[in-house]
């Protein structure tokens, strides 16, 4: 293709995108002469270039559009109709350009229809102007421009003479908007006999002045940049990047050598080389970065068109358009973003009538924002529309066979919302031209997954929904933690690493074992552990001490787990290189890289490890797999249960979260004291409690479950520890027997779930006084909001035991949607420190809600300070209880519920 033509195509396409945007802005702000000038200039350039290249069709179209826009500058009122017409023209131009690119020739065809319409619009505009011309004409241009005097005189003089509009426009354009007083003074003479002549010198005379002001004041920064930038082929940049990576490696090797040889004369120049290399690397990295605004450019136009098509009023807010990210990443998120904005406009926002009926402003808002956070970019697409239709998603999920009705009943709203990421899922009842074709969110998710990002959706019925995408800044260079396992080094991407824990025997962080499963108790949560060398099958058996090691706490999606490694070196910025095709089948690795010392190491893929763990996989293929999907959807509802046998053949279970430790003690250590079995445990005497029918063994070792709280421990004697399973804990048959909460189906077997609360006082009578807890045996309901699964696990049985019906929400939003769904709740118990919306905000929101404002709220917090209590009182809490104060909690609950009953 002709170089000139190619250049023209690239440039014109870019200009047109800008015109699209500017026009939409202009429509909203018709008095902004600056925007109009920009548009005018762009279209004019296109016209000029077309003429130069001999493209008559394009030229004619651009010319007609330019003429209409010229009228705007003259003060013709800007109507939506006219803007639509210009946009249509631009679309036609794009279409022709597309064919031009393919065939290298302007396609055959006529555009008389459009040109005719454009002319018609111009005439209409003129009419409306002349109608009001005598009084207003002199003022009208003033509104649009600041060069008053000449223009109207010229116009009046020339119009009867039928001077071509083009001449006129050119003159307007070049006299520019801000004719400086001297410039204006000079050509005052013009109202001269011949029309052409005054136009020409006038055009020349003010030009320098106009240009100057244009550059200094008027032009947006982009134009200045344009003048100072050149186009570089992306491949060239990629190549440059590769070469810089090589240079960095070589530099590192040189430094390594010089370190070994003291005092060489190379030291100083090497130092210099090192600095220059670092700067070069920085610079080249920068060339790959682009503002995210580039991906947003087309959105205002899309939203405008949608608004027209759907009969909605939509405002598009964009924040943080200058946030920069890697070109490669940018390309991959462009389409998902467009798709989600379309979704918001089509499904999310209501029609003006619906909005008015709901008491919302008629205009809906879609808010796009982007910002940096850590090594990530967060992009949020939020609308204030109707939110996701949970009922319809449910129905669709069932009809698509993604879940059974029974499953769905047990899911939280947030879990149901996640179904929209399943392939072929569209809830739009009618398929519009905009969306609803069932290809959508799953594609979005796949794209985001590809670049190691995550996507999250939140929705509140009637208030809107928001989608948050979290993506890494760049794919080419990532920060990685270099670790050692089995004598080899591996890189773990920092993005997935939450923290590092040093585990040592006899310390707080100790690797414990439940049968053969290693776990770590970290801040009251049990963390499943995987040994990296075992995963990679390179266990040389060198580290004989299974209780020591470094644990890389890793998070993939909602799953947190620990990777046990032999050593941790440092973090390093690594250049990710794709693996050889002969190695790509190994799911444990995502790539390889060359370290500073020249060695090649493999990059561990946390996703691969999560899959190995049998954990939820956030990837589309597995979502298609029904089982996996169900697991993913239910992840939050699943409870880890410890299954054991005690006293009978029937298995028993207890939430793992409640168990502090599993021990096997030699029977010789078990002593009988004061009629009770005791064992010396960590320098303390720990009482052993036997379940019904369990006898303490007489030989060998005795397995016990240790429960600890407040520095006291109690051992529950069991016959055998069977397994740890992940199941939804659903007690189907309540039990009349002491110590058994009821029966549940666990791994297909009827299993008795034991009530830990029953056994604790058997060890220490005052563990918590159960008398207090049994008082209100009425069916009052409590909503427990806590983001920590541990506390939910711990408190639910306590509350149930105290006779309350317990509803659980994992965060404030979930709690709110539950409350707003019309379910009656007598008391709300909420944690304070929660992500997104904390307990104070939660309480304030409830207080502000008319329907809910009477429901008592009790704060549960680990931090009890007078300031916090005061803050809680202001937020509207009725009571403030420490998390571990069970009797206090029960008392507070009793107090609040009786008050309500009296009030009622």
């Amino acid at each position: 293709m002709d170089d000139l033509l190619r250049e023209f195509l690239t440039e014109t396409n870019e200009s047109l995108d800008t015109v699209d945007n500017q026009l939409v802005r202009f429509e909203q702000d018709p008095n902004n002469a600056k925007i109009l000038d920009n548009i005018f200039r762009l279209v004019h350039t296109i016209k000029g270039t077309c003429g130069f290249l001999g493209l008559p069709r394009l030229e004619a179209l651009a010319h007609a559009a330019e003429t209409l826009m010229g009228k705007f500058r003259d003060g013709m009122p800007v109507t939506g109709e006219a803007v639509t017409l210009i946009l249509t023209t631009i679309d036609r131009i794009k279409e022709i350009l597309g064919q031009l690119e393919a065939t290298e020739a302007e396609p055959e065809g006529v555009d008389e229809d459009l040109i005719g319409e454009l002319h018609h619009m111009v005439e209409k505009g003129m009419e409306s102007m002349t109608e009001s011309a005598p009084p207003i004409a002199p003022e009208a241009p003033v509104a649009a421009e600041t060069a008053p005097l000449i223009v109207p005189t010229l116009e009046r003089e020339l119009r009867p003479g039928e001077v071509s509009l083009e001449e006129l426009e050119r003159a307007f354009q070049e006299t520019a908007i801000e004719v400086a007083p001297p410039a204006a003074a000079a050509p005052v003479a013009p109202p001269a006999p011949v029309a052409e002549k005054p136009a020409a010198p006038k055009a020349v005379a003010p030009k320098p002045a106009a240009k100057k002001t244009a550059v200094e004041v008027d032009q947006p920064e982009a134009d200045k940049v344009a003048n100072q930038s050149i186009r570089v082929n992306v491949d060239t940049l990629e190549h440059l990047m590769t070469m810089v990576s090589e240079l960095v490696l070589t530099r590192n090797q040189l430094l390594e050598i010089s370190r070994r040889h003291e005092d060489t004369e190379f030291k100083v120049p090497l130092q210099r080389l090192s600095t220059v290399t670092a700067e070069l690397q920085d610079g080249v990295m920068k060339t790959r970065m682009q503002p995210i605004g580039n991906a947003w450019q087309k959105l205002p136009r899309i939203v405008r068109d949608l608004a027209g098509e759907l009969g909605k009023q939509i405002e598009l807010e964009m924040h943080g358009a200058d946030t920069e990210l890697d070109r490669q990443v940018l390309d991959l998120i462009k389409d998902p973003l467009t798709h989600m904005v379309r979704n918001s406009a089509d499904h999310g926002l209501e029609t003006p009538a619906e909005r008015a009926a709901e008491g919302k402003p008629e205009q809906g808002t879609i808010r796009l924002s982007a910002y940096h956070e850590g090594g990530h970019i967060l992009i949020c697409i939020a609308d204030n529309g109707r939110g996701l239709n949970t009922e319809r998603i449910k129905a669709k999920a069932i009809s698509n066979g993604l879940a059974t009705e029974a499953d769905i009943e047990k899911m939280s709203e947030a879990q149901i919302h996640k179904f929209i990421f399943a392939p072929g899922f569209s809830t739009a009842a009618a398929i519009t031209s905009v969306s609803g074709r069932g290809v959508g969110m799953d594609v979005v998710r796949t794209n985001i997954d590809q670049i190691g990002g995550t996507i999250d959706i939140k929705s509140v019925a009637g208030e809107g929904s928001s989608v948050t995408i979290k993506i890494p800044l760049t794919l080419a260079i990532v920060s990685a933690l270099i670790v050692e396992a089995g004598g080899d080094r591996f890189a773990i991407p920092q993005l997935a690493v939450v923290e590092l824990v040093r585990a040592r025997a006899n310390s707080e962080h100790r690797i414990e074992r439940i049968k053969d499963t290693p776990v770590l108790r970290l801040r009251n949560k049990l963390l499943p552990l995987m040994h990296l060398k075992k995963l990679l099958q390179i266990d040389d058996g060198s580290s004989a001490d299974p209780e020591n090691g470094f644990i890389v706490v890793t998070q993939v999606g909602n799953q947190t787990f620990g990777i046990v490694v032999d050593g941790v070196f440092h973090t390093e910025e690594i250049v990710v290189k794709p693996m050889s095709t002969k190695l790509r089948h190994i799911g444990m690795f995502s790539g390889n890289t060359i370290l500073g010392d020249g060695a090649v190491i493999m990059i561990v893929d946390p996703n691969g490890i999560a899959q190995e763990l049998g954990a939820l996989a956030s990837n589309a293929h597995e979502i298609a797999d029904e089982n996996a999907a169900m697991r993913a959807m239910n992840a939050e509802q699943l409870t880890s249960l410890l299954v054991f046998r005690a006293g009978s053949a029937q298995p028993k279970a207890v939430p793992l979260g409640l168990v502090t430790r599993l021990e096997e003690v030699g029977v010789d250590k078990v002593e009988l004291s004061n009629g009770r079995y005791m064992v010396q445990y960590r320098d303390q005497l720990m009482p052993l409690v036997q379940m019904e029918g369990v006898t303490v063994r007489t030989s060998g070792t005795q397995p016990i479950l240790v429960f600890a709280d407040d520095g006291r421990s109690m051992g529950l004697v069991v016959d055998e520890i069977v397994d740890i399973v992940e199941e939804r804990l659903h007690i189907e048959v309540a039990s009349g027997r002491e110590g058994i909460l009821g029966s549940a189906v666990i791994k297909g077997l009827a299993t008795e779930v034991i009530d830990v609360g029953h056994f604790l006082p058997m060890a220490f009578a005052d563990w918590f006084s159960r008398k207090e807890m049994r008082v209100s045996a009425t069916a009052q309901s409590v909503l427990l909001v806590d983001d920590s699964a541990f506390f939910r696990n711990m408190l639910s049985p306590v509350l149930k035991a105290a006779g309350y019906k317990v509803r659980v929400a994992t965060n404030a939003q979930e709690g709110l949607s539950f409350l707003r769904s019309g379910q009656e709740v007598d008391v709300i118990l909420t944690d304070i420190e929660m992500p997104d919306m904390n307990g104070f905000e939660f309480a304030e929101t409830i207080r502000a809600d008319q329907k809910l404002s009477h429901t008592p709220i009790i704060a549960l917090s680990a931090m009890i300070s007078p300031a916090a209590i005061e803050r809680g009182r202001l937020a509207g809490f009725h009571d403030y209880v420490a998390k571990f104060d069970r009797p206090g909690l029960i008392a507070a609950l009793k107090e609040q519920t009786t008050e309500v009953r009296q009030a009622a």
């Binding site: 090589e246 080899d488 050889s580």
Partner: protein
Amino acid sequence: MTTTTTTTTTTTKAPSADGAITEYVTTMIGGQLFGMPISRVQDVFMPERLTRVPLSSSDVAGVLNLRGRIVTAIDMRSRLGLPKNDDGKPPMAVGVDLRGESYGLLIDSIGEVLKLADESREVNPVNLDPRMAKMADGVHRLDGQLMVVLDVDRILEISPDKLAA
């Protein structure tokens, strides 16, 4: 670099009538002489700092950094079904390219470059070890020894199924 400009690429189906000649880089692997067509050989180097790749096929010896490129090293002894090297001498590597990726074939030692007429090449003996026969493309009888011609493409046909094993 051992690549020369005068090589021909006729390794397999060259008509023997016109006396076509192929140049071979000769290598010793497990005491056996092998030849690879010089047109496929990029370079010969000493592999340094080989990083093993867990979970990979036993034929993959590991990966290494060769002037900034990551090269996958193939253990030719394992690939040909020969016993492991136990003389303690470091291996050498013949660099080859396949579809834009670099591989290093680990060998015991490198020999001279031989020009051999295609017509003197004989088909694989039927009783050749099947693992070796898969990758052999005929045999040349030299003075006092036999040189097995290796087909580079087939050496690198490490199928995913086999990898899983």
